[in-house]
Symmetry: C2
Subunit: 334 residues, 2 copies
């Protein structure tokens, strides 16, 4: 089984990244983080057995470590990934994988030069069972050709708990890079696309004038010769919602459509992972509770076997490339 280490604990996504690897039997060689980021206390509580190292070089230089995972401040992730790959390690990073086009180029170069895996954990696909179920249904041809994906990613702001970097677009990368990248991944994946044009992209701040560099609204329109993608993200989730966001994904096919109410079915049934498929036979609500989440297992196998099954490497690069391009276009238009 592989050995991994965590570098950078600035986002709570690190809990899943580390926890799921441990569940699979991977060994954690330790973790390093700068200072006392907000997620640290919860990390120590969840994983009291893990060892914090004071010198990050000890992790980079440990030849027995196969994989570095990171949920550092977004702008810092590229540097961590490049150094890790130069030290012969694969990388699994929280999204966004990086925040600038120059950083993405450095990452691509390091991955290629060192024959390393750079994997961005798009949790809104890889850690959501109903999305995996939808992938099965689409692969079976249940809704015909997927013409469009429509992804809505509202998020709760939780302003008082957020660190300074959260309000600095240089550090978080911008709303399209930070949270719309999830939906770009889903658009390319579900339409079977290698590439797309950004037909339109937009960012704004409508509700947070006291933190002007927090982009609280964003949208992207993607298009290629046979499919379309619309993405809307925001930080407006109201307090009355019992979860962090009413994330939706709608897949429009020529012979039917699928709607995912990923985290809540407002005014409907309890629980998460609500999948509705409507096709020529009728409307079906599907239970996704037993749907496996293969990303972590596949990634571990990829690391051992030097394969490319968890997420195609070119796809992974393309998602960040499109997110960075959308953010650039939106900034120019703003």
């Amino acid at each position: 089984m592989i050995k991994f280490a965590a570098i950078g604990l600035d986002h709570r996504h690190i809990y899943e990244q580390v926890g799921r690897l441990l569940e699979l039997g991977c060994e954690c060689a330790g973790y390093w983080t700068d200072g006392d980021p907000q997620p640290l206390a919860g990390f120590v509580e969840r994983f009291p057995q893990l060892h914090r190292v004071s010198d990050v070089n000890a992790l980079y230089e440990d030849k027995t470590i196969d994989l570095i995972v990171t949920a550092a401040i977004p702008a810092d992730r590229a540097g961590i990934a490049v150094r890790a790959m130069e030290c012969g390690k694969d990388v699994m990073t929280d999204k966004p994988g990086c925040t600038t086009a120059a950083d993405l180029e450095r990452i691509k170069k390091a991955a290629k030069a060192n024959s390393r895996i750079w994997s961005v954990n798009y949790s809104e696909r890889f850690e959501v069972p109903c999305v995996q179920k939808a992938a099965e249904l689409v692969a079976e041809g249940r809704i015909g050709q997927v013409v469009q994906t429509l992804g809505i990613g509202p998020h709760r702001l939780n302003k008082s708990t957020r660190p300074d970097w959260f309000f600095d677009s240089v550090q978080y990368g911008g709303i399209l890079i930070d949270i719309a990248s999830h939906q770009i991944d889903q658009y390319l994946f579900f339409t079977g696309s290698d590439d797309a044009q950004i037909a339109s992209a937009c960012i704004a701040n409508y509700a947070n004038s006291e933190t002007p560099d927090l982009q609280d609204f964003g949208e992207i329109v993607l298009r290629n010769e046979r499919s379309h993608g619309y993405i809307r993200v925001d930080w407006y989730t109201p307090d009355g919602l019992s979860t962090w966001g009413d994330g939706r994904l709608m897949l429009l096919g020529t012979e039917g459509y699928i709607e995912l109410r990923k985290y809540i079915d407002i005014g409907g049934q309890q629980g998460t992972n609500h999948l509705f498929i409507t096709d020529n036979n009728g409307i079906e609500r599907m239970d996704c509770s037993t749907q496996p989440l293969p990303y972590y297992g596949h990634l571990v196998n990829d690391i051992r076997n030097r394969t490319d099954t968890a997420m195609c490497q070119d796809h992974c690069f393309k998602v960040m490339e499109l997110a960075i391009e959308a953010q650039r276009l939106a900034l120019n238009a703003a």
Copy 2:
């Protein structure tokens, strides 16, 4: 009470247009239609007491008629409206109100020169109780500033029942003019906007290669300095849906959001007009069954009192202007 006549019965929307005026006590002076369009038999069945005239001039020249209603072939509606207004009559037309920029200019000129009302019956707002309820909630400030409207308008094709003009974009106007105009109306209305730019517009035919001039998919992105609108329309409603389309409208506010499942709540409750509001207090599913539909009553009053309460005339012109511009941009991009 006012007297009206119907000219052009090519779309079944004429049933509502005539039926609701009769319910209000308006007098129908008769109707004229060319040949035997598909909706005629149902019209005669619904309104056996009404008189079909053989010479349309008899209706235009009847000085006692206040209002002409039309659901003619879309490309013919402008000519009917202009002639009616030149004859001193107000007009209520099925959507789209016209299909070209030149026709819209003729209509504007005729309305102004003759001080007439030209009203497009946007049935997806005016005849849907939950949309009226949403308007009340927005006006009360329940979701703060409306940042975005997201409207989805899937339609069932019913290919075998459609007349030839349905497959000829010159006659039906194009999918954005024909059916996305509904959502442009709702975007401007719910965001309180007088105008917007078309940030992106697109049309395609993915599922109907044997009728290449049927645009079966379309989308529009609208934007102004304080709001956004996304519109998606298609002719892909699968046979398994028990109604013609799973039309949705989502209103994103800075302090909450509203979702309308206008005609069906897939996998949920029976009936129509499902309104869900989520704000800082929680999630509420609201009953809209008693919500009044004031459009027809207001229009009748406007005709009698020369007022502008059913739908602001400038708004009505702007909707068609934007729809025609979106269609033009989409054609250029195609």
